[in-house]
Symmetry: C2
């Protein structure tokens, strides 16, 4: 049976293979990329679905507009306002089936076979695969603890004239990096000056530990004239409320939003109205601030425990920037003292010691750094984090 | 901003424009393609979501497998067994975000720009657009009241060597046609003999009025050796339970299913586990037989009223086969007595008379028959159906 050419652009991920090993009893896993189920506000979600089915069961269970359930679009506009975004009305966003679908719709709308696009190195693995399935030729822009290197990004834009630049400016996956305020402004100015579309993926921005991060590119866009015309913003309830709802959203310039909506119509007609109506009731019910406060507190504490344990147990064999939010510590094995400096090799040894993480190399679309690794602290209790990092130190030898 | 080439393959649908007129007060609409919200089993769905959140809230709200929520895959396999399908295990199906997503994944997996594919003339509009977005070159196979003309289909397969043939064998949208048992067997034999993939889209098969229809192609496949290797079956809970859940599924040969699953991973990660867990509880709770009995009875009665009214009011100006299931009457204006024989022109006049329907021409990927129209009886009460058809007769003059 002949398959579409585009399938040859993508291979089954090495990470998926690793995940098969996680069933081993007693494994402490830092490999996940998901929030802790124990933190889900089940009573709040139950109350929200009850309200949705009581108030307008037809709307919660019937077909709905491809653009999204109107009450949810209103709530999401209000939610963004609460985070400093100015002037986004409900009709300037569409609801997507998780922010993964926003990426898919952007790929479908913007990418031809061979189209250039710039992503961070490292970046979210499913982004790489998603855009490559549409034939994108990805270019890797280097990052440091302050996010993407804007000078280098400017050179890459000039060199490759990409269809777009995809960034996770706030607590990126896997990097945990936080793009500085100064760089954020420079990215927006660069977008206007070079007429290059910037895609801001922002699933983690609400998960800060102490001080809030700088405003999102979307929130900053009113300070940089013209930048809203070159900016797409993807949001998600997955990391803060529930991934299982599959509710994300996308803000984009009107023409692009219209084309993405048409693509969505033929992708899944619309996102579950049952989930959308539930999410709308949840937001309208005012539960979100307390939920955010709780997850920030728990993840912040777990991050602190992991950072301390890594420093204590691994010392100068590992190098990392302590995350200020999100779900991940991104680290590099230094090879100090002649120790192992290969993430994939360490991952194998670590499994034998009863601890799992994801090696960093697959997160690069080009020029992988094999010494890197991603450790998630989100779903592991504090004692288990200490134990897991001690096992990691043993694996490193 | 340069957009992907594929967007130029698809235009905004004429039907969407028509739908904007439906807000006019007092309009009786036969234009919809959706089930009646008043028939949704709200208490049953409320009980199902309560059970899902009580029994395993983590699974209902967390990320899940791309293939689908395991309890739902089991329930869907059992549901298909109850409809005569033999030997489909849960791992031979994946859950999709409505059956629309199954079409999208098939397009992504199978269609290159210029790939030939055969669809019925007429067929589901969103199918045409979905496959064209991937660059498909669609070929139209003629149908009659017994479904697709298999002799002609065989010629078209020989001539075009398509990547696949897409059929809605049971109460098709818009045709309402029912593929006969004899033709079903011939289609399966043709698939094996010509090594051509057949996609059976089956959202309406449960909505029969009197006698059950012939078995689905999937159910018949065990009678035609080798045919399961050339058969994809798409199912949906949208028309029988709730479109808003966005729960569909796809059965396919293992290799193809694996590739479609990979594509789904980068399309939306997975279908809402919240909706999937609810649907699984609903099916496990044994509510479906009573729900099916109720919707069959109501739609059957409405269909009968519409058929009688059409014959009484429009006489020989209209020609149609009375539907035996589904949501639609598909009709042709004969022009008898010098009356209007153009569906689009009649649609305009009908709106002025306070009744709406969808002209048939857009449902053809080629060689449209402008005399056709689609009338849905699903969401209109019996008295309003009589009144609406009387208005239609006035519009026809």
């Amino acid at each position: 049976m002949p398959l579409a050419q585009r399938l040859s652009n993508v291979e089954t991920s090495a990470i998926r293979e690793l995940f098969k090993l996680l069933g081993k009893p007693g494994i402490i896993s830092f490999a996940g990329g998901f929030p802790d189920s124990a933190l889900f506000d089940v009573p709040g979600i139950q109350a929200a679905v009850n309200a949705a089915l009581a108030q307008n069961p037809g709307a919660a269970l019937q077909y709905g507009a491809t653009e999204g359930h109107p009450p949810l679009r209103e709530q999401l506009a209000t939610f963004m306002q609460s985070k400093g975004v100015q002037g986004v009305s409900p009709d300037q966003l569409i609801v997507t089936t998780g922010s993964q679908q926003a990426l898919d719709l952007l790929g479908k709308t913007l990418v031809d076979p061979g189209s250039k696009a710039i992503v961070e190195g490292p970046t979210f693995l499913a982004t790489i695969q998603c855009f490559r399935l549409y034939g994108a030729d990805l270019v890797s822009a280097p990052i440091d603890g302050q996010g993407v290197d804007v000078d280098r990004l400017e050179q890459l834009i000039a060199e490759h004239k990409p269809r777009f630049v995809y960034l996770i400016p706030t607590f990126g996956n896997p990097s945990g990096a936080l793009l500085s305020l100064e760089r954020r402004k420079r990215v927006l100015e660069l977008a206007v000056r070079t007429q290059t579309l910037i895609i801001e993926d922002d699933p983690y921005g609400d998960l800060y530990f102490d001080a809030p991060p700088p405003p999102s590119l979307l929130a900053l866009s009113h300070e940089v004239p013209g930048s809203r015309d070159w900016l797409v913003h993807c949001g998600s309830l997955s990391k803060v409320l529930s991934p299982g709802l599959r509710v994300g959203w996308m803000v984009a310039p009107p023409d692009l939003l219209g084309k993405a909506t048409m693509c969505k119509q033929f992708s899944d007609a619309h996102t579950s109205t049952f989930a959308q109506a539930t999410a709308a009731q949840y937001l309208a019910g005012g539960h979100m601030p307390a939920t955010l406060a709780r997850v920030r507190q728990v993840y912040g504490q777990r991050a602190g425990v992991m950072v301390d344990a890594l420093r204590r147990e691994l010392g100068d064999a590992i190098d990392f920037v302590a995350p200020q939010g999100g779900l991940f510590v991104w680290a590099r094995l230094t090879g100090a003292g002649g120790k192992l400096a290969d993430g994939a090799a360490l991952a194998q040894r670590a499994i034998e010691q009863g601890v799992a993480f994801v090696p960093g190399a697959p997160f690069f679309c080009a020029n992988p750094d094999p010494s890197t690794l991603r450790l998630s602290f989100a779903t592991v209790g504090e004692d288990k984090i200490r134990e897991g990092i001690a096992r990691l130190a043993q694996a490193l030898g």
